[in-house]
Symmetry: C2
Subunit: 235 residues, 2 copies
């Protein structure tokens, strides 16, 4: 008899066990990490038997890898699409437009206090205790974005060496990542005197600060003889 269990909502009952496990695993792995999350935690959240993890995923470690890819794949694609849009926008954006769009596209998936924070924490954990080879993680998730961001910067920014362009991208991403972490931190702790971190205000500052920083490289296309260029100490 095909009795539809009417007391439970369809969303949690109808879905396959496989899918429920994957979803619960993403949440728990991001929250507490792989070691602190027991298989029984996952199966309890997914409302299934302990053995289901091994049956459907062949073990806890493999479930972690699939959770990681399922979580970060879409994020990476969203980022790359944002950068691609910047590469093709006509007319060529100003430096300020570029930075504002880049910051917004970079931060948008991360600022949310549930899912966005999951992204950040998951990646931080993976970087501390890598379960998939670090080289794979970098080549698949990090380097593509850095390289394409550098290409986009070449279109809109002042002329500079490719090496300097990479360092500028590092400066941009470093600022934004630090801001996201401050944003999440300030929402999770109460400090008496401090005002909560103002992410929107920081983006304004980021555009102003970084556009000036980038334009510092437009002064010396030919003569790079300022004392801090470091061009002469290459090698």
């Amino acid at each position: 008899m095909e009795t539809q269990i009417s007391t439970c909502d369809a969303t949690s009952e109808a879905r396959e066990t496989h899918e429920r496990i994957l979803e619960a695993a993403q949440k728990l792995f991001a929250e507490k990490g792989l070691d602190a999350t027991s298989v029984r935690d996952i199966t309890a959240a997914a409302d299934c038997n302990v053995a289901a993890v091994n049956y459907h995923f062949g073990g806890k470690e493999n479930l972690y890898l699939e959770s990681f890819k399922a979580m970060l794949g879409p994020l990476r694609d969203q980022r790359l699409a944002m950068i691609a849009e910047l590469m093709e926008r006509e007319p060529v954006p100003t430096l300020e437009e570029f930075l504002a769009t880049f910051a917004e596209g970079f931060l948008d998936p991360l600022v949310d206090h549930s899912r966005g924070r999951m992204f950040m924490v998951f990646v931080s954990r993976e970087l501390l205790d890598p379960r998939l080879p670090l080289s794979v993680f970098l080549e698949e998730f990090i380097l593509p974005m850095v390289q394409r961001a550098a290409a986009a910067l070449e279109r809109v920014g002042p002329p500079m060496t490719p090496n300097n362009r990479i360092m500028c991208i590092f400066s941009l991403i470093g600022q934004l990542l630090h801001a996201v972490k401050a944003h999440h931190l300030s929402a999770h702790v109460e400090i008496q005197d401090a005002v909560p971190f103002d992410l929107a205000g920081f983006v304004d500052h980021f555009v102003r600060f970084s556009s000036a920083g980038l334009r510092a490289y437009s002064l010396d296309e030919t003569a790079s003889s300022t004392p801090f260029t470091g061009g002469e100490k290459d090698q």
Copy 2:
């Protein structure tokens, strides 16, 4: 009979058990985190009995807290001394001198691939899975440095609102932290085409990029009407 065991060097034998445990714990907690480090790992590295941890420290968790303070206290003091030196140096340093000294003093304890990396990893782990209250961690280790760095910047940098000064400090620290992580990462993975991250070169870039970014605030002491100031959207 006070037989001096001559087969073992004095450094590992003579020291008290208490001290050996604390040292081994710092190393292992930083490397693998609290959960992944068993008491037996620590006592094996410290060459003592399992019960010694509970006898000397009253438990694993308490040993972690003492390890954390023993690790980060000196680092914080070193940072504050560096900033204090910048505050009192005569004549007032140029912006470039300030940034170069700040970057060097900030990075110096962190770049080392054994102890410096331990600092970074330990703090990252504590931020992900806080064992001491986050507010204590921030008030004791982070905020003092941010505030004094802002005070030092007030002395050498262009005039700006205190809020903007804090955001500039965020930009500086965000860049430097990101660079340290790239520095450590590039030493631990082999990626075919990529050149290893050049930290010294990044510091040069950092000074150039950030001095220009800071000077972007020297344009409008009175009229802050650029479209990205955000002054009009306060509240």
